[in-house]
Assembly symmetry: C2
Homo-oligomer: 415 residues x 2
């Protein structure tokens, strides 16, 4: 029996009516002859509520308990989805992560898959069940504790199941009808893309375009999973949404495919760090150990003072990791691993990026970008580049303006 993975995000299962709407889409695929694995997120708002409780209880929370708490929203949706399908006479049951069991590493809140054994679900398909509903975002560690995959992790669950079960396609149902050149809420000139290369999607995802979780795209690229993003709220056909695919499946790519942004960035600067070989490792090792996802890094040139060499080290990380980062730095200083005069944080920044595979073969993208920002008097605080993207950190108040200016500068409204 051909198999499909269908993933429904939080807004697609926000209430019982929407769960019924999603279930109807599942039923239609069953009627077409598919066995279906449905991956569900928590009803929208639920995970935020749980995260809020955990953070209010314990700012430096035990990630094992965090995971145990925040994973519960998906369990609720999984059960309700199975019940809804049963009411539609579609034989279905739900699985929580530990029941499959979805084996992951012990890296709580950022766990990675070790194995997804097929036996339990295959046995039910063999019995005549048509749909396996699996709680997204979660797994179980070798120690038997509940793990989660990080925010948006249900996308990754979906792709991993598609890979493990050899699914014909992995459809990610969400509240938008595909991947856009940029966020349509920021400019109405944003245009839906019919196709986008894995690499581009990867940059867009990791840069804050919230359509897909980064790791889901990585996994899809590695296992050649045909990944489609489409709307829960529309009638779809085979050509709906955006297909995320190999570069060679895209006829002609533009230099820049999209503009991404992220409000959720903080800039932290260690002032007067004693400069010596190994200092970067001494700083970023503890940050990594503390689970801080450092993104951009800038090191000033070293200055001599009082017989020693000093530098300023700037890095960016997600806003909600600032407390954690500060503690990791304070602890490292207290332990004598590093020394610095001050740790300055700026949480009023945003990251804006342009992404495109075409950049590899086109010069001048950076120049166009910086010129467009300069024309709007937007000051650039930090720059980072990769083969197919250029990112800048700017004052948050200019974020929308920057996105609009860049969208225009690269003429992304044109197909």
């Amino acid at each position: 029996m051909p198999l499909l993975v269908m993933k429904f995000g939080g807004t697609s299962v926000a209430d019982l009516g929407r769960i019924a709407n999603a279930a109807a889409k599942v039923r239609r695929e069953v009627a077409r002859g598919y066995d279906v694995i449905v991956i569900v997120s928590a009803m929208s708002g639920k995970t935020n509520e749980l995260v809020g409780w955990v953070e209010a209880t314990s700012p430096l929370f035990d990630a094992r308990e965090y995971d145990a708490v925040v994973s519960s929203g998906e369990n609720v949706t999984a059960g309700l989805m199975a019940l809804t399908l049963q009411e539609m006479d579609v034989p279905a049951r739900s699985w929580q992560g530990w029941q499959v069991p979805i084996l992951t590493t012990s890296a709580h809140s950022a766990a990675r898959f070790i194995d997804i054994p097929r036996a339990s679900i295959d046995a039910k398909f063999a019995e005549g069940f048509k749909v396996a509903v699996v709680a997204g975002f979660q797994g179980v560690s070798p120690e038997g504790r509940i793990t989660t995959l990080g925010r948006g992790g249900s996308d990754t669950t979906a792709v991993a199941f598609a890979a493990a079960f050899g699914a014909e396609r992995c459809d990610i149902y969400t509240d938008v009808d595909g991947v856009y050149t940029t966020d349509p809420r920021i400019t109405d000139r944003a245009r839906k893309l019919d196709r986008i290369a894995f690499e581009e999607m990867l940059e867009l995802a990791s840069l804050g375009a919230k359509v897909l979780q980064t790791r889901s795209v990585e996994l899809a690229m590695r296992y050649k999973v045909r990944l489609r993003v489409l709307s829960s709220f529309e009638d779809n056909d085979e050509s709906s949404g955006t297909l995320v695919c190999d570069e060679e499946d895209i006829m002609e790519s533009k230099v820049v495919s999209g503009v991404a942004y992220s409000r959720d960035e903080a800039k932290m600067t260690l002032v007067k760090v004693q400069d010596r070989p190994g200092i970067a490792a001494a700083i970023f090792g503890p940050l990594s150990d503390a689970g801080v996802n450092v993104d951009m890094i800038v090191q000033n040139i070293s200055e001599q003072e009082n017989g020693g060499a000093f530098t300023d080290m700037t890095f960016s990380c997600p806003t909600n990791q600032v407390i954690r980062a500060r503690k990791a730095m304070d602890d490292a200083r207290a332990a004598g691993l590093i020394s610095y005069a001050d740790l300055v944080q700026d949480t009023d920044v945003a990251k804006v990026s342009v992404v495109g595979i075409g950049m590899r073969s086109h010069a001048g993208v950076a120049a166009t970008m910086f010129k467009a920002l300069a024309a709007e008097n937007i000051n650039i605080k930090v720059i980072a580049t990769s083969e197919i993207k250029i990112s800048v950190l700017i004052d948050r108040k200019y974020m929308e303006l920057a996105v609009q200016a860049l969208h225009d500068a690269f003429e992304l409204q044109k197909a």
Copy 2:
């Protein structure tokens, strides 16, 4: 290390502030030298919300999915309680049912304990953890599906853990400061009991006094668990609350100890049942198979008509099982197992009961009860008695009046 089980109900963990308040009580017992197993309910309102979703989705729900959904509230509280204790520097971790694992039968939504292995929790106590927080109300079946114990099941979890771990005492923290002669909301003459016998508590619990789940009292009686009911919202000492204990530990018991009531009763009458040997089994077998908890049963005398013998059979069951009961009866009739002319339901009834161990040696309790109700012009629809209780089904609108009249008639306000 002496061990205590402390159970906190929904109102005692209704929000983060109350969880902190409960955790402070746990910390105090730890400071006194106890290892503590904390059993938590869902934050108040959460389970009702989940049950509402399940029932709205599927009136005749798959109980396995129901259990998977409604058990999630306790998982949230368990994690938050562990985090709160950690913040108070009390080494703690949470366990979900499957992690212990709390092994139960497969009777979903009414599962019974098979085993509570101590190894996982004992190992953590040996490592220096002082508190094991366990999600109440839930377990895992031999098939690996999540089970629940029925509403109020966290009390039963608490007593079962107290028995399994040989706890010195099992303290049930709730929103009242003990067991009363009747519900103080119905009469301000209600009086708190310092002690109550297991048998009496059992009748009160099963009759609708919502302080403790019936099965928790049964278990406590069987395993001689010292069970105490006390308030989360007061400072307590050793003599606070109500101790549920052996009959012989109570110096002098009154004839009647309390008046209980239940609004959650429906009366169903099968009209013109064809009367024959085995008809009761043919009716109540299918009801039991459908998970309907039949309480009172009355069979009218048989009448001859058209050459056959016919009777009316009346039974009561919880209001939320009426649909289920009706379906079981319709199915049994369709299968030719029983025949009846009509199935009449009356959901506007309530049950009121008087309970007391003293009844065993005192005559005249029934007469006093019926006289008190008659004096208020309250019509009795069904009567049921046991060795230590008398229950009547009456119109729901008279319920409060009946409780007040009986409380006065048996002079329960006097110690």
